[in-house]
Point group: C2
Chain length 130, copies 2
């Protein structure tokens, strides 16, 4: 596992220049992926330390599949490789925001929509509005 | 607790019109909040069923504070109330995307930045770039 450090204190965590991601009890951090041009939220995934390091090292977004229990380079089977444009981390370093350019058909969702968020909640019901 | 149903099958989960959020083992669902006008990701928070229902009912974004263990209407102390413009849910209904208009000073982050994602990862280091 790549050796990400732990921030020594709150100031280092919030204002420091050391990347010190806080993984949860399962060793995961939440990753929000948006389209670098449209700004649309494409998906929410999970990264373990290995996935985050692989994303930083290769410039292709990697996730950890909770269902399959394995590291996963997005697009390996679908062609929807996500090229990293920018990675940000939040104040308490327990979430990352990845701006990317999706390759292949330009989509991100296995159901066939561009974004996984193709449904709006309206009056308590879901309406497809890609 | 509000009675959100469980989707009976994969098709209902992915293509149905019934809101059937999948909360995790801690009863939480990930919520990504963006600025409805700029598209900027403001924060990532967590909602339990009560917080999601309160958000749908009131039009103000509610979260569940994992550190304090309580329902939390964003902005109650900071004035940074988040007015809901649209709520979307993803394909497997385990994440929501909330587009909002932040009130008060227009920010969302307790550190003082507009967005919690005020740091970019560059060459393995964090650089503040609000």
């Amino acid at each position: 596992m790549p050796p990400f450090p732990t921030a020594p204190d709150k100031h280092a965590l919030e204002r420091g220049e050391i990347l010190a991601p806080k993984f949860d009890a399962n060793g995961l951090i939440c990753a929000v992926t948006t389209h670098a041009q449209s700004g649309e939220v494409l998906m929410v995934g999970w990264m373990n330390a290995e996935a985050l390091q692989a994303t930083l090292d290769t410039g292709d977004v990697h996730y950890f599949s909770r269902s399959r229990g394995e590291l996963w380079r997005k697009g390996d089977t679908s062609g929807q490789v996500q090229k990293v444009v920018e990675i940000r981390i939040d104040c308490d370093q327990d979430a990352v925001w990845v701006k990317c350019l999706p390759q292949g058909d330009g989509g991100a969702c296995h159901v066939g929509f561009r974004s996984c968020f193709y449904r709006v909640v309206e009056d308590g019901k879901l309406v497809e509005r890609p």
